[in-house]
């Protein structure tokens, strides 16, 4: 029974990784941009939520409603004024710019908030648990996974049921021809990055409640997110959820065998998937 419990805990942890990864997957799927600052932007969002909580005395769950639109604006501006200028046939300039951005965000946060660890406090719900048959699951991890599924579902609805989603997919397929349809690819990219930052803010909420965070932890979040996206298949949102869960389960199983193996087991699972299916579990047919 302990194995069932371990796997369930891994699946729940995977929800958090899927939330880290969903924004990355969205941006990559639409504009083939690997945002190396994604982890730092999640940490930035966590500090933003913390600031709103401290200033207004709100619950983090309410503060996220204020932080999310701010982060949308941050994403929109970042894409419009920085990333759109470097997007092109060469993949190196956007990589360098987002790498630089990662350094800038980390140092900016260090300057503003110091290197001290911080945490978002959600109150009694943090310790609450639910009996689920023979095992017990924490309410917060369960909420995290439910949120991840809801976010991925909502993004899929946006992609496949709305005019904006149609423009996202068309621009992703062929930006020049999309222009002939009256679509402005740069505007589409700016909206997409804005939405990715809203998702990053939701990820930041659960990151900040689950564990301590400080300005330097962004790159490690990026690695989990990146692995989840690659495992799932580039550009596939449900694949990203599956990728996050796979890493979560691998980490939980690794930790059950030996606590030192937790992180390593996740990375090994990633390498194994790459060896067996180099294009990920659910690659898009036209990539």
């Amino acid at each position: 029974m302990i194995w069932v419990d371990t796997i369930v805990q891994g699946i729940l942890l995977g929800g958090l990784y899927a939330l880290f990864a969903a924004g990355l997957s969205l941006v990559f799927g639409i504009m083939r941009l690997v945002n190396l600052a994604h982890g730092d932007l999640i940490v930035l969002a966590a500090f933003l939520i913390l600031t709103v909580v401290n200033l207004l005395g709100l619950s983090p769950f309410v503060a996220v409603l204020i932080a999310a639109p701010v982060m949308f604006a941050v994403g929109w501006a970042l894409q419009t004024y920085v990333l759109n200028r470097v997007l092109g046939d060469d993949i190196l300039p956007p990589l360098l710019v987002t790498f630089g951005l990662s350094v800038v965000i980390q140092n900016g946060l260090l300057e503003g908030f110091s290197a001290d660890s911080q945490k978002l406090s959600a109150g009694p719900i943090e310790a609450a648990s639910l009996p689920l048959g023979p095992i017990t699951v924490g309410v917060m991890p369960l909420l995290t996974l439910i949120s991840a599924v809801a976010v991925i579902f909502a993004l899929n609805q946006l992609f496949y049921r709305t005019k904006l989603g149609r423009a996202f997919r068309a621009t992703s397929d062929d930006a020049v021809t999309a222009g002939l349809m009256g679509i402005r690819p740069r505007n589409v990219f700016a909206i997409a990055t804005g939405i990715a930052m809203v998702v990053a803010t939701i990820a930041a909420l659960y990151l900040g409640i689950r564990a301590n965070f400080d300005p330097s932890i962004g790159p490690a979040r990026l690695i989990y997110a990146f692995e989840a996206v690659i495992i799932g298949g580039l550009g596939s949102l449900w694949g990203t959820l599956a990728g996050g869960i796979l890493i979560g389960v691998a980490q939980a199983l690794g930790a059950a065998v030996n606590p030192e193996w937790q992180i390593l087991a996740g990375h090994i699972a990633f390498v194994l998937v790459l060896l067996i299916r180099p294009r990920g579990l659910f690659p898009r047919a036209n990539d």
């Binding site: 005019k163 397929d173 999309a178 002939l180 349809m181 402005r184 047919a285």
Partner: protein, 237 residues
């Protein structure tokens, strides 16, 4: 307003240092179907790219309803009333047939002649295939989707770049059979064709291009076979 819908004056175009168009002049009358013929590399597609704003041009070199549009971007050109069926169709593989058609109306605000139903009426086979991925259709059906997509913006001017390329003659005939209805809708049409016979059949006016210049222009019945041959190949028959 004059009867001229699109007017091109002394248009030049460059790819880097390479000059692809040399002082092209062209006039499209309202309701007219104009065919541009020419061999590979004559500058036909470059002219289409310049008109649609993919290639930047001087503002005054292209006038739509007397308004300078040469400096507009591709989305802006679509919004002022010019849409294109691009060479090679360029359907969006992630979109279904219906979504490919609907995306043509992305920036449209008002109503107009062309609706999804009107497109299905023009090409009934597309209604049966509407949930298929656009790129899963045959070449001819894909071309129908590309034409439907371009019509959805209710353009004043429809540009068709090499729509018969790679298609069987019977399919080409079916596609061109839709042109009278397209012209009835009020759209003026420019057809770029390598197939001279087809161009002469469908157009009221024919221009022949060679090496970035217009070498011949006139009504199909006025143009002799030899004159077209000379203008097309640059040598006497």
């Amino acid at each position: 307003m004059t009867d001229t819908v699109l007017s091109i004056r002394n248009l030049t175009a460059f790819y880097g240092d390479f000059q692809a168009l040399f002082g092209v002049d062209l006039t499209l009358q309202r309701g007219q179907a104009l065919a541009i013929i020419g061999a590979n590399g004559a500058g036909k597609s470059t002219l289409m790219r310049a008109i649609t704003g993919i290639l930047p041009s001087p503002a005054e070199a292209i006038l739509l309803n007397d308004r300078p549009i040469g400096a507009l971007s591709a989305p802006e050109v679509l919004e002022v009333g010019i849409s294109m069926v691009p060479e090679g169709r360029r359907l969006f593989p992630s979109l279904t047939v219906e979504e490919n058609i609907l995306i043509g109306a992305h920036s449209r605000t008002g109503n107009g002649y062309w609706t999804l139903e009107a497109i299905y009426d023009l090409f009934p086979i597309l209604k049966e295939r509407r949930h298929n991925p656009g790129t899963a259709l045959s070449g001819g059906q894909q071309q129908m989707v590309a034409i439907g997509r371009a019509l959805m913006s209710n353009p004043d001017v429809l540009l068709c770049d090499e729509i018969s390329l790679g298609l069987a003659p019977v399919i080409i005939r079916d596609i061109y059979a839709s042109f009278p209805r397209i012209r009835e809708s009020g759209a003026s049409v420019i057809v770029v064709e390598q197939d001279i016979g087809q161009a002469l059949k469908v157009a009221d006016h024919v221009c022949c291009m060679m090496e970035g210049r217009i070498t011949l222009s006139g009504a199909p019945e006025e143009l002799s076979r030899d004159a077209i041959h000379d203008a097309y190949f640059g040598v006497s028959a």
